[in-house]
């Protein structure tokens, strides 16, 4: 069902956040619908989880749980951490050479 692990994680995050009552399913469906109806959405549905992730980011920003800039910054830290991690070892955020944590 999922072609890459991040798709499963993005899917599960929405289910978990909804179960905590942080948004209604109707609110979610509305955001997801807006993403999949964008004119540049792939006609074969191959970017469905990309839309899913975009909808989740938007909802989290709207709710004040995770702002776009904050996600950008932490995502960049994860990418640096991945580069700095030897192959075959788990990628940890602590491996980010620019980490200020």
């Amino acid at each position: 069902m999922f072609s890459e692990p991040w798709q499963a994680e993005a899917f599960a995050m929405v289910v978990a956040l909804h179960e905590r009552g942080l948004f209604t399913w109707a609110e979610w469906a509305e955001r997801l619908s807006a993403e999949v109806k964008k004119p540049d959405a792939a006609s074969d549905g191959s970017d469905y989880y990309g839309c899913w992730l975009a909808a989740l980011e938007r909802l989290m920003a709207e709710k004040g749980f995770a702002g776009h800039d904050e996600v950008d910054a932490v995502a960049a830290a994860w990418e640096r951490a991945a580069h700095a991690t030897p192959h075959g070892r788990p990628i940890l955020l602590e491996n980010d050479p620019e980490s200020v944590l």
Partner: protein, 204 residues
């Protein structure tokens, strides 16, 4: 051929989507809004435990137990929950029964609402724009692409799912299955037959 000098052969790459998902997870975990262990459990549940077999058991039970079929018609949410399949999004279920006169087809034109608790995660085509738009405009043509040709006088009813209401198609029971156990009947019930893009398998 050797690596070029700029290439670090022990580099890991995270693609941008994966990095963004990790970033969200990190931020939300720090705020105490999600628990990474719970995320793993949900992924495992949907990948291994929930799938169309759940729905097949519901259909097979309806085929073999008229009392259950009647309950499923009146209150699908409760009848399905009695078998242990409950929706996580608080959605209501409606079962739509195929008959000699009417074939039912389910779509979500809005996005991809789907009866997860009984069918698992939707197939790729269900989420793709062509199906979402054409199922309503030309259901007969869509069915033919799925290899389902219905008699001309058979009515097709299209049900558009919402966040609050999801549909399960109960296909017609194939002939030659009198006296079959519910378990054996369930093997005839395909995922597509419960979306309406297929029929139940014929008895072998």
């Amino acid at each position: 051929m050797s690596h070029d000098h700029h290439h670090h052969d022990h580099d890991n790459e995270l693609d941008p989507m994966a990095a963004r998902v990790r970033a969200l997870e990190t931020i939300l975990t720090r705020k105490g809004l999600i628990d990474p262990a719970a995320i793993d459990v949900i992924v495992d549940t949907y990948e291994t435990k929930i799938g169309p077999r759940n729905g097949a058991r519901v259909v097979a039970r309806a085929w073999s137990d008229p009392g259950f079929a009647d309950w499923l018609k009146r209150d699908a949410t409760a009848a399905i929950a009695s078998l242990g399949y409950t929706g996580r999004q608080g959605e209501h279920m409606q079962a739509v029964f195929n008959t000699d006169e009417t074939h039912n087809l389910v779509v979500c034109t809005l996005c991809s609402c789907y009866p997860w608790s009984v069918l698992g995660l939707p197939p790729v085509w269900y989420k793709a724009p062509p199906y979402r738009s054409r199922a309503v405009i030309d259901p007969r043509g869509v069915l033919e692409e799925f290899g389902v040709t219905l008699p001309k006088d058979k009515k097709i009813r299209v049900w558009d799912s919402t966040a609050e209401l999801r549909y399960l198609v109960v296909p017609q029971r194939p002939g030659g299955t009198d006296g079959w156990s519910a378990e054996k009947l369930a093997d005839l019930v395909t995922r597509d037959s419960m979306i309406g893009t297929g029929l139940a398998r014929e008895a072998a």
